[in-house]
Amino acid sequence: MEINLLQYKRVAVITVTGRIDSATAAELETTIRSVIDNGQKHLILDLGAVDFLSSSGLRVMVTTMKTLRKVGGEVCVAQPSERVVSSLSIAGLDTLFHSFESREAAIASF
């Protein structure tokens, strides 16, 4: 898994490449935490290049959503890969995360 972080004025975009499973989810969580601790309320997860997303990754996403909502923020997903869409739908979380076809549409939504 690779993580790339891009900080804009009002939104941070975290781009993940590869597998998000129990072996890697903690690293993603650490990155997200640092962004939130930095005061960022709007987060976009670009999951276009994620080819595996297990419950460990979903758990990080749900936790992030809960944390951000408490401060009036939100996390959404940009250009999810087919497999990310599958994982979200199998886990019944597809309605929880706003999903945008492109990064720019996600950014423009905030």
Binding site: D21, S22, F52, S54, S55, R59, V62, A91, L96
Partner: protein
């Protein structure tokens, strides 16, 4: 179909290799990409649970995975030597509470949503988990 079998140390970094075994079997059985991914996901969830909840600490034991195919279905068998745990009971899958979404418990939900059958036996100090996935009828 060839029987595939392999033994993995109970470490989280082995999940990827376990997925690869599942993927190869699914491909050979003619499962489409979505069905293959669903199987990988379910077997990964079961394996993660064995490592994290069963053995408790990484590297303390082994997971034996075998895959057999018959007609239009694949059977995955996972064996481990951790304390007994029966994941075959379907978790109550409640409607998603958007205001308070569940942070845990997704692994068993995924396992049961994906698999057509989930069977458990404790035999000779081992957990035997049997997961059966039938080939989707309208395979693309």
């Amino acid at each position: 179909m060839q029987i595939r079998q392999a033994t993995f140390p109970s470490r989280l970094d082995q999940i990827e290799a376990i997925c690869r075994l599942v993927e190869e079997s699914a491909q050979e059985a003619g499962f489409d990409s979505a069905a293959s991914y669903a199987c990988q996901l379910a077997v990964a969830e079961a394996s993660e649970n064995i490592i994290k909840h069963g053995y408790g600490v990484e590297g303390k034991g082994i997971i034996q995975v075998s895959v057999t195919g018959r007609a239009d279905e694949l059977t995955f068998e996972l064996r481990d030597e951790a304390p007994p745990f029966n994941p075959s009971l379907s978790p109550t899958i409640s409607q998603l509470d958007e205001d308070d979404p569940p942070v845990g418990g997704l692994g068993l939900v995924i396992l049961h949503r994906v698999m057509d059958e989930v069977r458990y036996e404790r035999l000779a100090g081992q957990n035997h988990l049997t997961l059966i996935k039938r080939k989707p009828v309208q395979s693309r």
